[in-house]
Amino acid sequence: MRIPYYPGCTLKTKADSFETSALAAAARLGVDLVELPRWNCCGAVYSLADDDLIHHVAAVRNLVRVQEMNESGLVEDELRLVTLCSMCFNTLKRSNLRMLENPEDLEKINALMDREDDYLGKVEVVHFLEILREIGFQRIGELVERPLADLRIAPYYGCMLLRPAEAGIDDPEEPSVQEELLSALGAEPVDTPYKKVCCGSYQTVRDPSAVAGLAYDILEHARSAGAEAVVTSCPLCAFNLDSRQREVREEHPSFQEIPVLYFTQLMALALGLGADRCGFHRNYVNPEPLLRHKGLIREEDHG
């Protein structure tokens, strides 16, 4: 299965561990994520003002690239666009929806992008977790080589995978897709009331201490529910929950650090692809001691 894949800016730099682990895990499942040629930044947030069209241009350009991939034969009759970053997913999906619902908006954007082919409105933006659900968690479980046994993980959804309802990939109040994945990988999902509470998102630029406060609540609830690590699918959540633990500790000296991982890092480990594909050096709180303790990273892994 070859599917157009949109990485997003951060997955090429500070969150490249997300991309590397996802591509490796996908390949193991027989999914070839083919990077969109000439993709551009999607804008990270969906613009909400009714009269604001210019901020949807970036998203629509990427949808045109999916058409081009089909025309040039890079993919065959595959108009789905897979994303990993939840922010990109939400932005691309909602801009796409707006174009489909408002043909006049699309007409204006097509006219503005006069050097591009017109966007024909046939692309479907999906998140990698949806592809995994389509493959089937039972099937994924069968491919697990190193079950994440005795590992208690709190899945963190945040906002962009779930809300608003028309953009979400799961029940906005009772999501379960990450729990199902974690169970298939052999881990024990830990439920916390904070799994869909916002991490503060872009407020991290203006107000790091408010974000550190939210991170503290989210992580402390995960820990008190018995979690040993938290997983996410968003590089902004990852930054706020992982890197901002530095600020959390300044505020709460007794706070104990807890690893925050991309769900794909755990997938790659469970599928037997080795720690080398996981890019743990990018994590602020090093997850390796925990994973080594659980026997998930072993000495023989590093040839």
């Binding site: 800016c9 090429k12 730099t13 930044c41 804008g43 210019i54 970036a58 350009r61």
Partner: protein, 262 residues
């Protein structure tokens, strides 16, 4: 750039010639009498005022013909220095075009204005103290994050550079694409003038090329080899010979040197 603070004799003569052409040109515009020698004339609008100028001139020479004298806003006159950027519209066309005045021929009904400079501070940096990653670009040019992918920069570029693509490469931290993509930039500044996100693309490209040149691009093998040869003293003898030559001998050698074919 031309500099009029210490005009040479030659420049004074040029000035006289220009002044005489100016008076001629004004007379023609006023009287509508066409010079015998010039067969084709066009009307252009410089900052809103109409001038009749010979049709085979560039915007730059046409403006000089019309009476403008450039002290700044002109440089090499060869399309390399980027000093004479101009914005124009053709009659009946909504598109705002950009070009270098020295490279763009006048067209009948053209409306134009010179934008010789894009106001933008260039932050000082020591390249040896910087990392070749996207953080460095955002540190100096955080407004990069405001790009909306409208592609206006690309449309404004007189060098036909895919400016938006290299800005996007900067945002992604793809230094190879940034350096290669911005390579033909002549720093004219039209992209920055047109950018709705107020990004100074040409400065970002320059920092990107410098970082890539210093840290990102593979070191050329032939350079390393040549450095070794120099270290080993292979050129000492030849160099000593040159240093010992007198001026005449040097000039003869220079005239007879091997030249690349044009």
């Amino acid at each position: 750039m031309d500099n009029d603070s210490t005009p040479s004799e030659g420049k004074r003569l040029d000035l006289e010639e220009i002044m005489s052409r100016i008076s001629e040109a004004s007379r023609q515009v006023v009287s509508g009498v066409e010079t015998e020698k010039v067969k084709n004339w066009v009307t252009i609008h410089i900052m809103g005022r109409a001038y009749r100028v010979p049709a085979d001139l560039t915007i730059l020479t046409a403006m000089e013909y019309a009476g403008y004298r450039f002290v700044r806003g002109v440089g090499c006159r060869q399309g390399f220095c980027g000093a004479c950027s101009t914005l124009y519209r053709r009659e009946g066309d909504y598109r705002l075009q950009a070009g270098l005045a020295c490279q763009t021929r006048v067209e009948d009904g053209m409306y134009l204005v010179q934008i010789p400079f894009s106001p933008a501070a260039k932050p000082p940096y020591d390249i040896s103290e910087l990392d070749c990653d996207e953080s460095t670009l955002f540190e100096f040019y955080p407004e990069l994050a405001r790009c909306v992918s409208c592609n206006t920069c690309t449309k404004a570029c007189p060098q036909d550079i895919e400016v938006m693509d290299y800005v996007q490469a900067a945002i992604k931290g793809d230094f190879e694409a940034l350096a290669e993509g911005s390579f033909d930039c002549i720093q004219c500044g039209l992209c920055a003038i047109r950018c709705p996100a107020e990004i100074v693309q040409y400065n970002v490209g320059q920092l990107g090329r410098r970082l890539y040149g210093r840290y990102g691009s593979p070191e050329p093998e032939h350079l390393a080899r040549r450095l070794e040869e120099i270290e080993a003293g292979e050129f000492d003898e030849g160099l000593d010979r040159l240093v010992a030559m007198d001026r005449e001998e040097l000039e003869r050698l220079y005239a007879e040197r091997e030249r690349e074919k044009e």
